[in-house]
């Protein structure tokens, strides 16, 4: 039986990750993303489920020596499947830098061209300008 606090952890991580407040990073293992905190770290990854045509999502909590203390799978909280999937996608997006890349490209695409400033017409020569 998974600790019910994990449910709160999933919600908080998802909320903060969507707000860009969790620094997810890619690890040496493809598809595994981690976020570190002052004493602990969390890792999230996905794995194809061999029994059903679906993907399992796993969230691990590690201590400050990198030792895994506990882990939960989406099957521990079936009603949290979508949140865990969203959290994984969010972690992947931030960890791979996709989030920043898309923001940058969208900002560049959305930038309006500055209106072409027509050069001011030179002041016309009047009789007053003629010195003689």
């Amino acid at each position: 039986m998974a600790d019910p606090k994990f449910r709160t952890l999933i919600h908080k991580l998802l909320e903060r990750s969507k707000g860009g407040k969790v620094q997810w990073e890619a690890t040496a293992v493809e598809g595994v993303y981690q976020a570190a905190f002052p004493q602990y770290s969390v890792k999230i990854y996905s794995r194809p489920n061999p029994n059903v045509v679906a993907t399992d999502y796993i969230l691990e909590v590690a201590d400050n020596e990198g030792q895994v203390i506990d882990e939960i799978r989406d099957t521990d909280f079936p009603d949290e499947y979508e949140n865990m999937r969203d959290l994984f996608n969010c972690a992947r997006s931030v960890g791979l830098g996709l989030d920043r890349a898309l923001d940058s490209i969208l900002a560049a695409l959305g930038r309006d061209d500055p209106p072409s400033a027509e050069p001011p017409e030179p002041p016309g020569i009047t009789d007053e300008d003629v010195p003689f």
Binding site: A28, V29, E30, Q34, A36, P38, A62, E65, G66
Partner: protein, 164 residues
């Protein structure tokens, strides 16, 4: 008349005795205060010296960390996978020592240390698995992670060096 003089001198002696007692008491108080103040100053000096030694050790550990990380990058490029797990372990121990010696460090610095320890544990497991499976790990991907961590740890090292 002689009796009156005697009483007078007895009173003077009594007053003088009280005065000497009061002065002695004040001198004792000042002495105690001074010795306590000196003890506290000595304690503060010892605390500062200890803190200074810890900071110096942290700088030395950081320098050793950056040296090992550079070495790890070279070993990755050379494909010296068999010797790498020991280097990852040495690196994690040093990072752990820095973390333990600096409990008052800012949260972002502690998170960086914890994240680095975790990264190198994952890396160690990945290399061990590759060794067992007789496959070659992704050198570019591994060195990219090492370089990213190295840059961030160098920034923290700089803050330690700039400490007054």
């Amino acid at each position: 008349m002689g009796g009156g003089r005697l009483i007078f001198w007895a009173a003077v002696a009594s007053i003088a005795g009280v005065a000497v007692s009061i002065i002695g008491f004040v001198v004792t108080i000042i002495g105690v205060w001074r010795s306590r103040s000196a003890a506290e100053q000595a304690k503060a000096a010892a605390r500062e010296a200890r803190q200074g030694i810890l900071e110096l050790e942290t700088i030395q550990d950081f320098t050793a960390v950056t040296t090992i990380m550079e070495e790890i990058k070279r070993l990755h490029r050379a494909g010296a996978w068999a010797v790498l797990p020991d280097r990852y372990t040495a690196l994690r121990k040093l990072l752990g020592a820095i973390l333990a010696a600096n409990p008052d460090a800012p949260d972002d610095q502690k998170a960086l240390l914890v994240g680095s320890i975790n990264q190198f544990r994952v890396m160690e497991n990945a290399v061990e698995r590759a060794l067992a499976d007789k496959t070659a790990p992704d050198v570019v991907g591994l060195n990219k992670i090492v370089s990213q961590k190295l840059d961030k740890l160098n920034e923290v090292l700089l803050t330690f060096r700039l400490k007054p």
